[in-house]
Point group: C2
Chain length 336, copies 2
Amino acid sequence: MKCRKCGGRAVLELRRHNTAFCGPDFLNFFQHHVLETVRRWRMFTRDEPVLVAVSGGKDSLALWEVLHGAGYRTTGLYIDLGIFDYSRASKARCEAFAAERGLDLRVVAVADEVGAAIPAVKAATRRPTCSACGLSKRYILNRAAMEGGFPVVATGHNLDDEAATLFGSTLRWDESALARQMPVLAATHARLARRVKPLFRMSERETAAYAFLRGIDYIVEECPFSRGATSITHKELLNRLEDTSPGSKAMFLQGFLDKARGLFQERETVTLLECVRCGQTTTGEVCAFCKLRDQVKRGVRPVEAVPAAEPPDSEDPPAARGLISDLHAASEIHAP
Amino acid sequence: MKCRKCGGRAVLELRRHNTAFCGPDFLNFFQHHVLETVRRWRMFTRDEPVLVAVSGGKDSLALWEVLHGAGYRTTGLYIDLGIFDYSRASKARCEAFAAERGLDLRVVAVADEVGAAIPAVKAATRRPTCSACGLSKRYILNRAAMEGGFPVVATGHNLDDEAATLFGSTLRWDESALARQMPVLAATHARLARRVKPLFRMSERETAAYAFLRGIDYIVEECPFSRGATSITHKELLNRLEDTSPGSKAMFLQGFLDKARGLFQERETVTLLECVRCGQTTTGEVCAFCKLRDQVKRGVRPVEAVPAAEPPDSEDPPAARGLISDLHAASEIHAP
């Protein structure tokens, strides 16, 4: 197989683009597509400081690498979920990545903000773990942006993530979630940062190849709480479809953005208020994050009773409900 | 496992309804649901003569059986596609079904209407087979209804069929197809019959169980040209989803009807004209069926050159294109 660009030996075939590239030409292709996405969707300018949410995984580190390499003003934010070895290893990857490149990395611990790390939140509340975790991450990310003077936050959501979320929302025809499915969520309130997803056109396989070829040391393991999640079932189904018809995921997501999303957005009318407790945006009186913090306060058992080093059960989380609550909670942080 | 109704031995578990039934109670359950669907969606009244499209398969024969049993005024229409043994066997099933019950069955042959049977149409045109066949069936069905004085035609599309069609349309965000995805398509022109799908809430497994338990002798084989069709891939994916979360298909279809279809319908503005050649409805000057007939006339090879008894190639039809053309062609017969 030959590189479509230089005719040299290809290392990666991209069936959905009906092409193949050698290493250097793939890296160029990837960077070009990401930066083109940033420009075309007016995600941010060269003057705007961008807070990049990094998890230690391939997507967010590849994103940070591309943006930094192109001269954008980036700062990393690592949210420490306190999930056993998984969090320790992912934090170390982010710190090493930033140190090697002389980049600024900020760290916020869920335990400090919510009152307990995610495993203890799971134990203390009846809420599905992915839901509480997603809510906490969105809240912390937005507040860190506001406090640090960042008008925009960037996350590493890739094509597979976005297509799977869209697939789940479409199966339920969840109008609010469909209205919010966007690569750019504008700041619709003074207390909200713009939220952008510059990798939304790049597949998981492509970001993995990019991170690998660039020698980025990322954490390969998935979060132990994600086992059995509905979003993973949906990703598997979409992968089967992609195998049969390369380009299906991109067609599904792009077709939605071009032809359908506007229909759902027109129906959405959300009035954002400020939480009487913390001042962050909410659709009610007290925001979902403050309610979660209260639940945790009431429910946390003494430290010795929480089996801190124990890996989570494999049947957790009750994923369908988790995803639904997660998406509902999202409306409190970002309304269209 | 016990019957939820009478406590006797259950023969069928319905996971999506979280229930199980003995044979007689399942038959009641099935009939009740179908008749309730006819009433709630105002598909037709007891006074209206209904033309039931029958293929010899489980769905259409089960539908005819339920409607006839409930006292509706039904007549069957079998469209002979001329597809080798498959058509011979399916026609025989329809004739036996009608004869045993003293019902009126009409037969129209595609060869008489289009100028050649489906295998020869396939050979004579470059059009995907499923597309030409679907177009011919819709045309013949509607014309037979008009000529026979039937205000309404009923087809045996079940939940699996409808969910798979919706899935395909959603993957492409095909706005016209989404606008037309309805269990009742009103007659929007004097030359159109109302088209209804009374089985759209019953799964394929349920209609198979009904036909089996009622002793209906139906053809089990699928059309040989359907091998490898995209719609079959989509059905398989939805089956995997249903296995993981029973009720997914129904939620997907019903959610669409309740929450999303109206959004797409509002955008659709189709003006129906009468074909200058045959008088049936079309969006252009000459309808798609007349164009197909012309293509066939020009392209049909002498009978001896067509390998009449040869089974079709397994890689046929180029299904994605087929489905798309099929759905486009549908707009010429039924606009919302």
